[in-house]
Structure formats: C-alpha cells, structure tokens
Symmetry: C2
Subunit: 346 residues, 2 copies
Amino acid sequence: MRLTNTKSVKQGIRAVAARAGVSTASVSRALNNPDAVSPSLRARIEQAIEALGYIPHAPARILSSRRSRTLGAIVPTIDNTMFARGIASLQQYLSSVGYMLFLTTSGYDLDVELQQARNLISRGVDGLVLRGDCHHDGLRKLLADNAVPFINVGIYQPDRPYPCVGTNNEAAAHRAAAHVIELGHRRIGIVSALQRNNDRASARVAGFRRALAERGLELPPQWHVEVPYTLDDAREAARHLLNLKDRPTAVVCGNDVIAYGVLLEAERDGFSVPRDLSVVGFDDLDWSRHLRPSLTTIHVPTGETWQRAGEYLVRSLAGEQTIMHREIDFSLVVRESTAPPPKSLK
Amino acid sequence: MRLTNTKSVKQGIRAVAARAGVSTASVSRALNNPDAVSPSLRARIEQAIEALGYIPHAPARILSSRRSRTLGAIVPTIDNTMFARGIASLQQYLSSVGYMLFLTTSGYDLDVELQQARNLISRGVDGLVLRGDCHHDGLRKLLADNAVPFINVGIYQPDRPYPCVGTNNEAAAHRAAAHVIELGHRRIGIVSALQRNNDRASARVAGFRRALAERGLELPPQWHVEVPYTLDDAREAARHLLNLKDRPTAVVCGNDVIAYGVLLEAERDGFSVPRDLSVVGFDDLDWSRHLRPSLTTIHVPTGETWQRAGEYLVRSLAGEQTIMHREIDFSLVVRESTAPPPKSLK
DNA sequence: GTCTAGATTGTAACCGTTTTCAGATAGTGC
DNA sequence: GCACTATCTGAAAACGGTTACAATCTAGAC
C-alpha cells in the first residue's frame, strides 16, 4: 500500500493550495493564466509557491493537458558546425517562447531516425523538426497516425505536401558552379558529400551538374568524388583528384569542410590556390573567411533557417495559419579561393 | 464534461489490454519487465501492441513511476566543438543504456543556468550534468532540496564534496607552459579565455602562471590577455600582443580556437611560426593537426569525459556505488607550432 | 431592494501509466 | 490426492497536475 497522509500534503500543487488557503484549480490558474485570478489571490499563491519552493511537475502537466510545450528535433549529428549552429538557434528561439527542445541524433541512419521519432512522440513532443525530406517510409505513417506536426528543414521543396524551410540547394549549387564557369573555367570537378540518404547533398550535386550541362561542359566520372564526413576523408579524395593526369582547374565542393580538405591538400601538393586551382565551398562556416586563402563559398543562414522551423511549428500549434514552404535566401560570397584559370589550361 | 466512451478505449495501455484480453497491469509488466509475464501472455500482448501501433506515453509513465530515465545537461553553448563533442558522446552513451538527454544552454550566465536547472527538474530529470563547479548559490540549494543527483564535468577537484569528472586543467596548463620553457623560452605570453564564471579557464591560467613562477619567469601584465569566445576576438588580442615593442617569444593559449587566432595573426603580421614565435593550444580540436603549421596542444579526451559523467549518474541512479571524483588523463601533443626561441631573443 | 450578467473560485473527474496487494493457478513433496 | 509454495495475473489506488462545470460573489440596472 502506498503511504498517503491525508492530513498534510507534503508537496505538489495541493500543498501550495493548502498553504495559500485556496483550491488547486486556482493555483493552476495562477500559474497558467494569471489574469484569470484576482490580484490578491495571485499574490497569496505566489507567496506560497515561493515559501514552499514549489516546482511544477511537467510530466503531470503534460499528462493532464495533453500538451508539452516541447518540440523534438532529430539531426544526423550534433558534432557538425552547421547543425550545432542551427540547433543553438532553434533552442534559443524556443526558449524565448516558453518551449523546450528534445534533441536526438540519427547518425545519418533512417532506421535510427524512425526509432528516435517514436521515442520523441512517446515523450509527448508537440511537434518534430526533421532534417531534409529523406525519411523512412514508416516515419510518415507514424507522424500521420499520431497527428504530429513536423517540418523538414534545410531544403526547399514547394511542390511537396510537407512543410519545409530552407535554401534551395540545387539553385545555390548551380550558382556556385556558375561562378567558376563565369571566371572562365571549363574543367570543373565536384567533390560532394555522400548522396545516399542525404537529399541536401544530392540536390547540390544536381545543381552543380545542371550548371555544367547548361554550358555543355563535360563531367568525366573521375572528376566527381563523394566523401564521408571528416576532413581526413575530404583530404584523401582531394589528393586523388589533384593527382589525376588530367585534372580540373576548379573544384566545387558539397560543403565547406570538404573545401578545406581540398585547400589543404592543394597546398600540400604545391598547387597555389587560386592561381593553379579554384575552390568553391558551400555553407560559409566561420573558418572560411579566416582561412588563407579565404574561401569563396555559398552563404547559408543556418540560424535563421532553424529558427523559422521553430516558428512554423509554434505558430501551427497555436492554431495560426502559416506558410508551409519557406525559402531561405543564399548568397555567393566571393573570396580569395577563386580566380580565372591559368592561361595554359584554359 | 469530458467525453468518455466507456465501451471502447481508443488508445493507450487499456486498449492494448483489451485487445489482448489481459489487464493493464500485465501489459505494463510485459513492457517493463518481460520476464515477469508468461511467454504466451507476452506474445499476445506484443501482438496487440504491434497491431495497434501502441506507443507508451512517457509522461504518464514518469508520473506514475517517479523515474524518467532522462538526464539533463546544461552547457554554456552547444555551438563550440568541445561541447558538441562531449554532448554527442554523452548522448550516445545514454541512448545505449535506454536513457534520454535533455539539453539546455546557459550562455555562460549563472542565473540562466539556475533557471535551466529548475526547468529540467520540473521536467522530471533523474540527474543533472553540469559544466564545471562554478554555479549560482541557489543551484546547490535547489539540487539539495530536490535530491537531484548531479556531476560537474570538465574539471577535477578531488577535495570538493561534489562528484566531478574531468582533466586536471591546472596541471595540464602547467605541462603546456613547461613545454615551451623546456624549449628554452623565457618570454612567455598567455592568451586565455575569460576567467569570469569559468573555472576551467581560470584553472588553466593558474597552471600557466605556476609553471612560469616555478622557473622564476616574469609575466608582465601586458603579456596576459583575456579574450571572449570567437576567433575574431582571439585575432584581435593576438594582434595586440604581437605588436608590443617587447613581445613574447612564445604564447600559451587557453584553448585551441584562441591558438588559431594567434597563428592566423602571426602569419598575417609576417611572423613565422615556430621560428619567430611558438604557440601552444589546449583541447586538441580536429583542426589542430590539419593546420599549417600544425598546432602543439594539450589533448583532452572530451568524449570519454562526458561519457564517464553519464556513467556516473546512471550507476548512481541504479544504486551502485561509484567513484565520486574521476580524473581524465590529458597529454601534450607536440606538433609544428613550437620550437626553441630565436637565438637573438633568447 | 431585487435581478442579472460577469467575474472569481471551488469540486472533482480525468489524463495514461505503475505498482501494491490479493486472488488464481500450477507445480511439488509427502 | 492434499496441503503448501512459487508463479502469474488482475483490480484498483495512486502519481500531480488541468479543466468542465457548478457555485458563489460583485456590481450595476431597474
């Protein structure tokens, strides 16, 4: 049998109510909707809360109200400047509107993502923030079955029936490639992130390819390399690409970290950037403007993107009508790593 | 009045129980302690769960069981490789033992940290992971009043009554400074992170200073600079230090990002590292070995540190007796950024 | 002074689990 | 075959809040 002392309640809202000489309903109201109780009552209750050091029990609140004021986010990894940025920004926004964030990671694994989503829903989140639109089939069903609002972030797909917010990666990549083409390059290589289960990466590759195709430029297979996540991987791929007998004069990269790898490897092999080789990145991480040569890249406002995702969900949950597909502008930032190709190789 | 259809329960454990023809108690047992129910029952229940797509409601579970299998972590910022690393590692460990992590940020503000702690406790976390041992007075009281287990991570203070896990920052910093002293440097500058509300930063400064003091070396005030968080801040400070008429021949830095700033600024001002200037970092971020010159620094196993913190709490919560103060070894990684001082300035 | 609308407060059911306790069932030694 | 355990299972009371509804109170309007 559970010990229940009917005389005195040691904690909880009932203790506060008892001390303030009011009902639990009033305490609850004072907490959630202060205007609904008279100033005098409110003062008494606040004083009792203070005196008892009362902290509301969120799980009970969630259970009773069916709302948690908590969002869940599933990112591939937190150990990546882009995501860390985004999450920080999202979290800051959410906390400013009284929401909390449950953060989990999927490690780029769709099954894990599904599992994490189940986890978060179980936890009672009011909505979910997902990366991209490349998900397990079961995930959509799960979201639909449980009527969980969600948004795909980091991509822009106005034609899809799911909400999303992000830059148009295809267009941005196209812009990046167009930049080196405009500089006069005709021999352009691509070093992209792994495209598998990563629609962002593949959209960028598509943009690069379209830019080349529009100018009738060839892309020999050996000039397109895909690399995993680390700088070491990027360096290795770059080394390979730079040592081809027939090497490109410019390399467009799927993200800045990859570009760093190309830059480092180029330096190591004695190529001068941008004299011998032009390099374009994508994301515009902090480092990119500090590097020497500084990196020409596509600037993507990650913080804004994720904050908008939060705004979308919070507003939807508040019953407001909001834009389902929001495009976030990118911009090309031209720095030192790009220049016209050497005359001899033009 | 709430609508309650007494005939059919649409969801929840009762729906599962009804479908399987068992009591809710059995379903709960099948979920939490499978061995406690007979295989046949378990099979029936599992099938019902599957058929209904049942997802347990964690808040209700927490409310009832008084345990959330969730830990809270409060870090200054997530947008910092060190913390991102640590959090990623902690999260991975926790998920491997069936725990979840509630992550919040304090922005280096003690009041915010206290508020976040309140928030997390309200959320029902079973324990708290904190950064360092520099907290608001109210925080300890809060933790004590609510009997919330916690651990300070990133520091090692065996003499304190609070659990902690981390490297001995003072000793590690001492080692870093000793390294350049051993190389023959006598004119050594310090560029540290802000010490206010940051015991890690101040322990490092203390270690640097002790190493200098032990060899009887002077530290003119203008040779010790404190900088905020960004690379830009570090560069500005470095520029100032390097342009002193009477400048040091070696600089020990409070962390790697600061060291990058010094390195970049040195290059910009035409100093050659390590010929004209030796630089030592602290943390050993990924970049440090890729940079040119690569950075001599103190390697700190961040991932292990945070995982240990998780282990400590999980074990404590399981009732196991565990070590309260755990020291994590650091190591000096000598790379290209340090060398004996130029003869002329020795 | 009575009546009514509106503002405030209280009562108690309910949110979806876990868990105690007791009852039912099956297995064992004699 | 019987009493006696050891195992399973079920009924129902919590857990700590929210909130629908009822009850009370207040202030004008007449």
